[in-house]
Symmetry: C2
Subunit: 396 residues, 2 copies
């Protein structure tokens, strides 16, 4: 194992970080995130093929939905084709429509923001904390006080006239947002919360699973997530009516009938196929194991990273337990200009490393969207380096 | 084998049809359509799990796209999450947008029409032939002559003022539309054709594969289709620029970059996961076998159905070769009132049988959409009975 002292000044920052990563995960190349199939994945997908039930009918979708509800503690889970589709139907079910605005972080993946555009609504960007990627709720509160007015039980943006139809917090890299504080704001300003918990399967806030606080919450089971179904997502809710509506919307809004095909609204083909749900059922059986490995990995990284000046590993906040979906280095401001060198050095050494997503308000299609001051997000975006995070990097 | 003479008047119509179906497919219950997995489906999906490549990266998506292009003769095929998604990106890529109208049959599955609504456009319904479910191109021609005006190289609806942005023919039940005639109209009226070939994988018109005539064509690989990927679809095109655009739109419009996540337009997460593409690669290897079985099944059904007065099996038209996706009985007008009895008798006997979809213009969300006279579609819809059609019903 490579070791080095805090005072080791013969190594550059890039070398120190690369060597710290190597000391934790070894010399083999490692992707940023890879799934682990050590359970019944092969058996259950084989069962689908053998029985012919690979598609829109079959027992695994129901089983996966029940399993998700049980694991997260949500009353209802609806499996869909992916996390983007989950957010889209969640927004539609919450009544977000043409010319509404939706409050959403600038620091997030594109999959959070595109569904707002699908609804014909406009993203309204909110800032991140100065020292962590999650949204800055205090700053948001002050901002909303200035721009909002309440009319007929809804919040409106005084300057654009648009209704603020929802707030969409993101549990970035698996670290839950302060949901109590956000619930206050949601209640005071009459703006419903839809949680993007795509990255937060296995994360909790005050002991309760991420994605179960808002009116609706969504998950992703893309290949790079904590558990995968190939492609997949889910909507969580404690509201039985919303759950029914989302199931209806995501299955072409077909009305139950013995033989006839009748549909009563514009719906979507977002149903998760049975073969993907089979993978999900198998993966879900191992989620505690995956989260445990990733939490151990965080401890190991933290132990070596803390010896490097001006760099830290993002740790879970008070009241939260993180799944550590993506392990996250944060460079101090004074060394932010070395981020790209660090990224290159890690990738050159065979370690999948990545900067955070290009901020949403800088992308051409969202350049003119309304926003609060985004200097927190801008500061963060310049200083984040994600490093290899897959569960297989820790042997139990 | 049950036989009966044309003069057999002791049996009701329902009994005659049920007995005819039984004489072809035997006494075991049979679903309307079931997939057949006799090839490499298990092997290739297992390979995905073993290698960890189940999701958005992996070799099967490329292989499936290449296989689809080769099989259909299209220059490009882009695999997506399903046939509905395929039509959606096809319409977006063709420039269909807010307040446009799209010409589309009233007699089709909801998945043809919903994507028009996703674009913010309006379906404009067209009629079916008096004696077959496909669109009535002659009647359409006369209708368009009356309602259209050409301005700046585009067609506009004189009464609504909307641009007629596309015509979306459907190869219903696998029977190709007369594409030469439609191409004439498309050219004369400057309306691009986007073919919904969801049901027509394996069908040809004048020797060329359905879905390869229009600007764009789409396929579905839902569990009830000729080949299945669990859930899946594809866009076909001979235009390299459109192919690139559709790949871009269906993969979150991410710009190629070593590490950064940059997106240059509102895109979709419609990428087909690798594990579903693995199924598709295996299924595609057997498509000729599936089509052959279904064509034999059509011959067998036709031989017994022709003995029943006032009922016929829908056969392929001139210049076309049908995949016989769904076998279709058409009752003569004078016995149309017995359709529901026939459907019940078949289902009671364990045979999956179904009326055609409720016509689109009668669904609440499309009730006020523009339309031509739809008496052909209405007549057809009252007289169609689909009967068991899966490839496993014929042993080779
Ligand atoms: C924060 C966030 N939101 C949304 C998504 C979209 O999920 P998916 O890729 O399954 O559509 C993802 C993951 O990709 C994500 O990380
Ligand atoms: C005519 C037609 N169009 C569109 C679709 C939509 O395809 P998918 O179900 O794969 O979304 C289907 C099949 O379901 C169909 O039969």
């Amino acid at each position: 194992m490579v070791t080095f002292a805090r005072s080791d000044t013969t190594m550059t920052l890039s070398e120190q970080i690369t060597s710290a990563v190597r000391s934790v995960i070894g010399t083999n190349p490692a992707a940023l995130h890879e799934p682990l199939f050590e359970g019944d994945e092969e058996k259950l997908t084989r069962e689908c093929v053998e029985t012919g039930w690979v598609s829109s009918v079959g027992k695994f979708v129901d089983a996966f939905e029940r399993g998700l509800a049980e694991y997260t503690g949500a009353s209802h889970a609806i499996a869909v084709t992916n996390g983007t589709a989950a957010l889209h139907v969640a927004l539609v079910a919450a009544g977000v429509g043409r010319s509404d605005e939706v409050l959403v972080p600038a620091l997030t993946f594109i999959g959070t923001v595109n569904p707002i555009a699908y609804c014909g609504a406009t993203p309204h960007f909110i800032d991140s904390l100065p020292n962590a990627p999650e949204i800055d709720i205090e700053a948001l509160e002050a901002y909303l006080d200035g721009i909002l007015e309440l009319r007929g039980g809804s919040a409106f943006n005084k300057s654009t006239g648009a209704r603020l139809a929802a707030i969409l917090p993101v549990h970035v890299f698996g670290h839950p947002v302060d949901m109590d504080h956000l619930a206050d704001i949601s209640e005071r300003y009459k703006i419903p919360v839809i949680e993007d918990a795509a990255e937060a399967m296995g994360s909790t806030y005050k002991g309760r699973h991420a994605g179960t606080f808002g009116l609706l919450g969504t998950l992703s089971f893309n290949g790079n997530k904590i558990i995968t179904t190939g492609g997949g997502g889910a909507v969580l809710t404690n509201d039985a009516d919303l759950a029914r509506r989302i199931k209806h919307l995501s299955t072409t809004a077909r009305v139950a009938h013995r033989m006839e095909f009748i549909h009563d609204m514009v719906g979507y083909n977002y149903r998760m196929p049975n073969i993907n749900a089979a993978l999900g059922v198998a993966q879900l059986r191992n989620i505690n194991n995956f989260v445990l490995r990733k939490r151990i990995l965080a401890d190991r990284y933290a132990a070596v990273i803390e010896k490097i000046p001006a760099v830290r590993l993002l740790r879970e906040g008070n009241d939260t337990q993180s799944n550590y979906w993506l392990q996250t280095l944060i460079l101090d401001e004074e060394i932010a200009d070395q981020r790209d060198q660090v990224l290159s050095a890690l990738n050159d050494a065979g370690y999948g490393a990545r900067p955070v997503w290009r901020l949403m308000h800088t992308l051409p299609m969202f350049e003119s969207s309304p926003r609060m001051d985004l200097s927190g997000a801008e500061g963060m975006a310049a200083r984040i380096v994600n490093i290899p995070s897959g569960p297989a990097l820790v042997q139990l």
